[in-house]
């Protein structure tokens, strides 16, 4: 125990003598929360729309003015030729092209139905899907107005039958994207701080050569690993607290569940992450290699984790990979506790999984750390 205290004292002194540590601890959370929460949004605004109106009828004008009035669309240009419009699509001047063919209104009145064409730039599938959805919704509402006009029924009259779906959004009633993102970004924050700091630290001693001097002492392997783990565990826990305060002040995120539970799970989760960092340290020779491993690990596990995309829509094997993805567990738990107010009983499976990984990876790191090569 005394040995561990000596190691801790040394580590803390070294960490805080490193001039870059204080900026890392205080600036990184700010930047991540401010930038990522705003940038990584699923909401789409300002879709650039180009209209090719070859009909010049009152109906076509009605449709165009509806698009103009929508917050999602930005009418950038009007063209007369579909070919020109296609060029604009190709040159990225427009995201969506609405083509109203000549004789549109005439056909609508005569045959009771008519066709519109919608060309959507689908390089980004999500944007394309949403543009399509918004455009269809606008056209549908025009359609409804037309029915009302043509048959002269009032919109609210009972003779106008339709199924009305009432939505009730639970746990995030305003469908606020930031509410959903902040808990996930906080996980990202402690993961990156914890993994990179611990991963770089032990391997640095290898690079400088001080590890040799440690290895000729009778220090026990577990003592050394604990000495390396605890400082970063404390720093990462502090980061989480700091990030939560920022999240509350900047985005007013709801904190419905128990904060002690949040920190309890974080405590276990950080053992996993720091264990991975230390394990990377033991299998690499220099900071560059360690950086590469850490980067590879974070990139895959973050993209798989369900931070930006939903895990449920991943293929079966992808969902299976997430069974060993600690980031996915912690993001899920954070959202459950903070947004839904889940209690200890609801997250027992996640806690058990994280505990299991914590023991495994720390065991692996201690086993792999060799005093004799």
């Amino acid at each position: 125990m005394r040995t561990i205290i000596f190691i801790l004292e040394k580590e803390f002194k070294q960490i805080f003598r490193n001039k870059i540590m204080i900026p890392i601890i205080f600036v990184v959370p700010f930047v991540q929360l401010l930038i990522l929460v705003h940038a990584a949004t699923f909401e789409i605004k300002n879709i650039d729309l180009l209209v090719v109106d070859n009909d010049f009828s009152s109906t076509s004008r009605q449709i165009i003015s509806k698009f103009k009035g929508s917050p999602f669309f930005n009418l950038v240009e009007s063209e007369f030729s579909v070919k020109k419009a296609e060029e604009s699509l190709y040159n990225d001047k427009a995201d969506v092209v609405l083509v109203i063919p000549s004789g549109f209104e005439k056909k609508l009145i005569k045959e009771n139905k008519s066709d519109l064409q919608l060309l959507v730039n689908a390089i980004n599938g999500v944007v394309a899907g949403l543009s399509n959805y918004y455009a269809s919704a606008i056209i549908m509402s025009v359609n409804k107005d037309l029915i009302v006009e043509m048959y002269g029924v009032s919109k609210n009259s009972s003779s106008f039958k339709q199924i009305n779906i009432e939505y009730s959004h639970w746990y995030n009633p305003q469908l606020n994207y930031k509410t959903y993102m902040v808990p996930g970004i906080l996980v990202l924050l402690v993961t990156i701080i914890g993994l990179y700091l611990s991963g770089m630290n032990l391997v640095r001693e290898k690079e400088v050569g001080t590890i040799e001097q440690i290895n000729v002492t009778p220090i026990k392997k577990y003592q050394f690993i604990i000495g390396k783990l605890v400082p970063f565990w404390i720093i990462a826990m502090f980061e989480l607290a700091f990030g939560l305060v920022l999240g509350k002040l900047l985005f007013d995120i709801p904190i419905i569940g128990n904060l002690f539970l949040v920190f309890g799970v974080a405590a276990i989760y950080l053992l996993v992450i720091l264990g991975i960092g230390l394990f990377i340290s033991t299998i690499t020779e220099n900071q560059l290699q360690a950086m590469f491993f850490a980067f590879f690990f974070t990139l895959i596990f973050i993209l798989m984790s369900g931070l930006f995309t939903s895990v449920e829509s991943m293929p079966k094997w992808g969902q299976f990979i997430n069974k060993i993805n600690p980031i996915a567990y912690f993001i899920k738990v954070m959202r459950m506790i903070l947004l839904k107010g889940s209690g200890f009983k609801d997250i027992i499976p996640e806690i058990s999984a994280l505990l299991f990984y914590a023991f495994s990876i720390l065991g692996l790191a201690i086993w792999r750390y060799r005093k004799t090569t």
Binding site: E9, K13, G209, Q213, N215, V216, T217, P218, T372, T373
Partner: protein
Amino acid sequence: MKNEEKVISVKNLVKKFADFTANDNLTFDVYKGEIFGFLGANGAGKTTAIRILCGLSSPTSGELNVAGFDVYKQTEKIKQNIGYMSQKFSLYEDLTVYENIKFYAGIYGLSNAQIKFKANELINKLGLQEVQNKLINSLPLGWKQKLAFSIAIIHNPKIVFLDEPTGGVDPITRRQFWELIYQAAESGITVFVTTHYMDEAEYCDRISIMVDGKIEALDTPDNLIKKYKANNMDEVFLKLARKN
């Protein structure tokens, strides 16, 4: 050196890296309290042997006993009884003189009172009072090396291994460094030192000369000079190296 108590005993030590043999059948004994010099050109296998004796690297084969413990099974017991100073400077550059002393003394299990006493003794002996709260990286190399040596023996080990401790150090500091080595030997610590400065070889009680992974000669400096009909160790070394 009339002391016959063996503190290091090596029989047929072999260390291979893939198909390269770094240590080829080394056999030698080191007696308590002597200064044992390990000489050889760069790449002769000195560092490999010293790392095996310290338990940093495992031997391919051979019987080895250090400080009364078996190198294969009791490496951790050996570590409590030895000190080591590597070729590479390896104190913490971002800690102060005092913090480095305190850390290593603490790791070796010295009590707080002992740490305080040892640290003061050491700082006074090396004349580091002025800089004891300065970071190591601000000190000149010679001071660092003397400090590293003193820290390597802070726990009063039976043996201290020094791997080219005076590389890149000026002659005056080298002289002072050897005075520290003598003091350590007088207090009963066996000194195992590698070097390629031949004048330093003459300070040793006995020396072994390694050429290409083998021990070519092992005796006192005087006997070696007589045996090879040389004027000094330099000539002995050149004669041995030229043989191959």
